[in-house]
């Protein structure tokens, strides 16, 4: 079982609140439980809160080292929101910053051995993506009213092409939460499986004797390289998620593009 590369994604209940509905058999109804996935989501949230509270506790005009890191995180996300959604987009800064920190810290937790990577579950990433799209659609309609639908009718298109272009634009819009969630989930899942497969080779080869130990050096080197790559992918995916969130929010603020 130790070599099973999928085993790391198993979800188990830590304590159950019981099931709603169903007929009493295994797997029926909606089971409410605090799982290992929930545990790491809670840990991530606590870590972010603790980090931000502790680093900004003794605020100074001349920041100390810890305060500097949280100010850098703030500046990084603030610049991203400003350049993609304009100054008006800054009212959504708390949302984008929370999403960025949640995904980033969650991915980083996933890189620690024996820790669970909750971003490798598509339902988690899809829920995050749907949160973003709900905010975009709701704010778009509240701020622009029916003019928000102009998003689906590009300006400067002759009237007879509109019936062809509009379904394409609608599908393009509907595909956003899918691409947003599948990208994050796919990267984390594939990365962790690759990591496990390559490091699993080290153990299997080394158990074959002297020749195997020499051969095991190659997958070991590969494992080190892939670990570095995974750290990069974790960071980049959190960044991409936040950038795309601010770009979609830009569509809600300025619907005619």
């Amino acid at each position: 079982m130790a070599n099973d590369p999928i085993h790391q994604f198993v979800i188990y209940d830590i304590f159950s609140f019981g099931t709603i509905g169903g007929d009493g058999t295994e797997g029926s109804g909606i089971s409410l439980a605090f799982t290992n996935s929930s545990l790491f989501m809670a840990l991530t949230t606590l870590t972010i809160c603790a980090y931000l509270i502790l680093t900004t506790r003794r605020r100074g005009l001349i920041p100390n080292r810890w305060q500097l890191t949280s100010e850098m995180a703030y500046e990084f996300v603030a610049n991203m929101v400003r350049s993609n959604a304009g100054t008006e987009g800054m009212k959504f800064f708390p949302l984008v910053f929370s999403l960025f920190m949640f995904i980033f810290i969650g991915n980083m937790f996933g890189m620690i051995p024996y820790f669970y990577t909750f971003t490798s579950q598509i339902i988690v990433t899809f829920a995050l993506a749907m949160l973003v799209m709900t905010v975009v659609v709701a704010y778009g309609f509240i701020k622009n009213g029916p003019k928000f639908l102009k998003l689906f009718v590009p300006s400067g298109v002759p009237g007879y092409i509109v019936p062809i272009v509009t379904p394409i634009e609608v599908i393009s819009f509907l595909s956003r939460p899918i691409s947003l969630s599948v990208r994050l989930f796919g990267n984390m899942l594939a990365g962790h499986i690759t990591l496990k497969v390559f490091t699993g080779f080290v153990v299997s080869l080394a158990s074959l004797g002297a020749v195997g130990i020499v051969g095991a050096v190659l997958p070991l080197l590969m494992g080190v390289a892939i670990t570095a790559l995974e750290f990069m992918v974790s960071t980049v995916q959190a960044y991409v998620f936040a950038v795309l969130t601010s770009m979609y929010l830009n569509d809600a603020i300025h619907p005619s593009h």
Binding site: S175, I178, S179, R183
Partner: protein, 75 residues
């Protein structure tokens, strides 16, 4: 953004549009009982939306690149 992230992003945008288009077509077929015509037509529309997504992403990446010429080192 790294080259890897760029490639994965373009791939995901393209596949997602096709999936959504086919899914809508399948649902229309289920409701209207017109199997397989709506699926086929919406697959094509989804394909077009995928191409649209990809051209948008590439245009935007090109715009980023030309606006910040020193971005090449950080790739």
């Amino acid at each position: 953004m790294s080259t890897l992230a760029r490639g994965l992003r373009i791939g995901a945008e393209f596949v997602a549009a096709i999936l959504v288009g086919s899914g809508i077509g399948y649902l229309i077929d289920m409701v209207a009982g017109t199997t397989p015509w709506a699926l086929l037509i919406m697959f094509m529309v989804g394909f077009a939306a995928g191409i649209l997504n990809v051209t948008r992403v590439v245009a935007e990446l090109n715009a980023q690149r030309s606006s910040s010429p020193d971005a090449d080192e950080t790739d």
